[in-house]
């Protein structure tokens, strides 16, 4: 949509909020009125879902529960930091003593083969922890973390093969999400109604899985916790503690690995760590060079279904609007006379992608077109009843979680 139309819509919504009728709200917008009318009707309908009254009893019950939880937390308040370190230091010292006694190479070999539940397993973990602490560069640290995360997955697979029941957690990328069985890093993970799912998790994202290995060869999840995901966007601003990339503000800290020389306007690939409250911290920010567009869509086998949802295929990632002008008061009837009629395009800072490709898979909430995973909702406009094998034209938008939402899928020919 054009900035002009979205600005006019905002102005008309403000008029409605002031109690004006739809006709009165449309009056200042002349030629845009016919485009705005259905949107205002939809807004009126959306508003009909209402601003709900807050029951006094609900507030009192919640306050009581919150204060009770606070009292419980006070009883189990954390020990001072120094005391909290003692078990960790003791474990480390034990590991070092054992290592010295057996010879570092010997212990490394034996411990490296251990799996959760083995006597030497803590040594393996402590030695890994030590190496992580000694990592001088963020890049080295990230490489080690990736290596150790893969080791945890391998250990889970070994435990499943052995049929041992061990409580543990591991981190890996989500391959598939099913109603009762997910695949995470190749591990079949069983979910139940009791499983807590924290964060909006989609295939390609990295999650932490907590639970229990089962004798039936599956991992029973108690909690699935979004840890990180990759996203692509244009750098809009660079601050000491916060960058704006695309539409999102992303915190950076001392541990963020930032490729040298990145400037405003660069297209970057960001590994984002998701915190419990929905806020995000960048783990790494690297300059992204989009692949050279090819005249034809890639073959259907170009990309596994489980790949991360990033735009790395033939599609051209269309970066829109560098004309950031703050909140640009283009409200009621505001401005916009210098633009032609609104052909739909992304608003500023949004990444919109239009591409053609062959439909490889059609699901309830996900389609795969030209190797790309697309989120499909009831709001997606689907034309021509495409089926697997058809060539379609896709209009998609990059979401803040790094996935692509299909706005329109239209069968060609």
């Amino acid at each position: 949509m054009s900035d002009r139309l979205s600005g006019a819509l905002h102005g008309a919504l403000e008029s409605l909020a002031q109690g004006k009728s739809i006709e009165q709200a449309l009056a200042p917008h002349g030629e845009l009125a016919s485009d705005l009318r259905p949107l205002l009707e939809a807004a009126t309908t959306a508003a009909a879902l209402g601003q709900h009254e807050v029951p006094e009893a609900a507030l009192l019950r919640s306050r009581k529960r919150t204060l009770a939880r606070a009292a419980g937390l006070m009883e189990t308040a954390p020990r001072p930091p120094l005391l909290r370190l003692v078990p960790r230091l003791a474990l480390l010292a034990t590991a070092l003593v054992v290592a010295l006694a057996a010879g570092v190479d010997g212990i490394s070999t034996a411990a490296a083969q251990s799996i959760p539940g083995d006597i030497l397993y803590p040594v393996k973990i402590v030695s890994e922890d030590l190496r992580l602490r000694l990592a001088a560069q963020p890049s080295e640290r990230m490489s080690l973390e990736a290596l150790y995360a893969q080791r945890r997955v391998d250990e889970v697979l070994r435990l499943l093969a052995l049929g041992r029941e061990v409580p543990l957690s591991f981190q890996a990328s989500v391959d598939e999400i099913g109603p009762i069985l997910w695949t995470v890093g190749g591990v079949p993970v069983r979910v139940s109604p009791e499983t807590r799912v924290l964060g909006e998790i989609l295939p390609g994202m990295t999650i932490e899985v907590e639970g229990l290995t089962q004798s039936d060869g599956t991992f029973l999840a108690h909690e699935l916790h979004l840890k990180s995901f990759d996203t692509l966007g244009t750098v809009a601003s660079i601050g000491p503690a916060e960058w704006v990339i695309g539409n999102s503000s992303i915190a950076v800290d001392d541990e963020t690995w930032i490729e040298a020389g990145i400037a405003v306007g660069d297209l970057v690939l960001v590994r984002v760590r998701a915190l419990d409250d929905g806020s995000r911290v960048a783990e790494s920010i690297l300059r992204f060079a989009p692949p050279t567009p090819t005249p034809f869509p890639p073959p259907p086998t170009a990309r596994p279904v489980s790949s991360t949802p990033l735009p790395t295929t033939s599609a051209e990632a269309t970066e829109e609007g560098e004309d950031d002008e703050g909140d640009g008061n283009s409200g009621p009837g505001g401005g916009g006379d210098d633009e032609g009629e609104g052909e739909e395009h992304a608003g500023e800072d949004e990444v919109k992608d239009e591409f053609k490709g062959v439909v490889q898979s059609v699901g309830n909430s996900q389609w795969i077109v030209a190797g790309r995973v697309l989120q499909v909702t009831g709001a997606t406009e689907i034309r021509g009843d495409p089926v697997v094998g058809d060539t379609v034209k896709v209009v998609a938008f990059l979401q803040t979680d790094g996935t692509w939402w299909a706005e329109k899928i239209e069968r060609e020919g």
């Binding site: 819509l9 879902l49 709900h52 919150t66 109603p179 807590r196 929905g278 909140d327 608003g347």
Partner: protein, 179 residues
């Protein structure tokens, strides 16, 4: 000290008076947000209450809000709503309850109103989580464009664009559900 910094400090101390005050200040906002997304008073109460409990737990483990308590609570409520729908999806035999009850004694009107509301809700739930989020903030919470931008960590122009797409998608969905 700013209001947010003051609130965060009180939360860390677990001071009951300050906690009650913070709870009462934000509970209505979080509740209204959840009620709009969910259409169910009891679940909305659970979600809003759980957001406060998680706030305390997160602060105690050093993972709480960095700047704004309100943004953190609304962000957490958004995730809890998402989890609720995910769990409901896994138990399809449980029909999602309706928020509205009969407002007058006419059973026919109630039936029609209930069906319309169910259709509206299905239309809303067919949007992406981000689109639902922005509509809930603008129309359920009554936040201004700038407030919504602050809560979603975006700039105002991005919210205008997102709001436009959300309403366009809502219009298509309403057509699909014949509302």
């Amino acid at each position: 000290m700013t209001k947010d910094a003051d609130e965060l400090s009180s939360l860390r101390r677990l001071d009951p008076h300050a906690l009650a005050s913070i709870h009462d200040r934000y509970f209505p906002e979080v509740y209204r947000y959840a009620a709009y997304r969910l259409g169910d008073a009891l679940v909305a109460e659970d979600v809003a209450s759980e957001a406060f409990v998680r706030l305390l737990e997160s602060i105690q483990t050093g993972r709480g809000p960095r700047t704004s308590v309100r943004s953190w609570l609304i962000g957490t409520a958004n995730h809890l709503v998402y989890d609720h729908f995910r769990a409901a999806y896994r138990r399809p035999e449980q029909e999602l309850p309706e928020y509205a009850a009969a407002e007058d004694g006419d059973p026919q009107r109630h039936l029609e109103s209930g069906e319309r509301r169910r259709g509206l809700r299905m239309a809303l739930e067919s949007l992406t989580p981000e689109q639902q989020h922005v509509l809930a903030l603008r129309f359920g919470g009554g936040y201004t464009l700038e407030e919504t931008a602050g809560l979603m960590g975006k700039n105002s122009n991005a919210i205008k664009a997102l709001q436009f797409r959300a309403l366009a998608a809502m219009r298509r969905a309403l057509g699909e559900f014949s509302i």
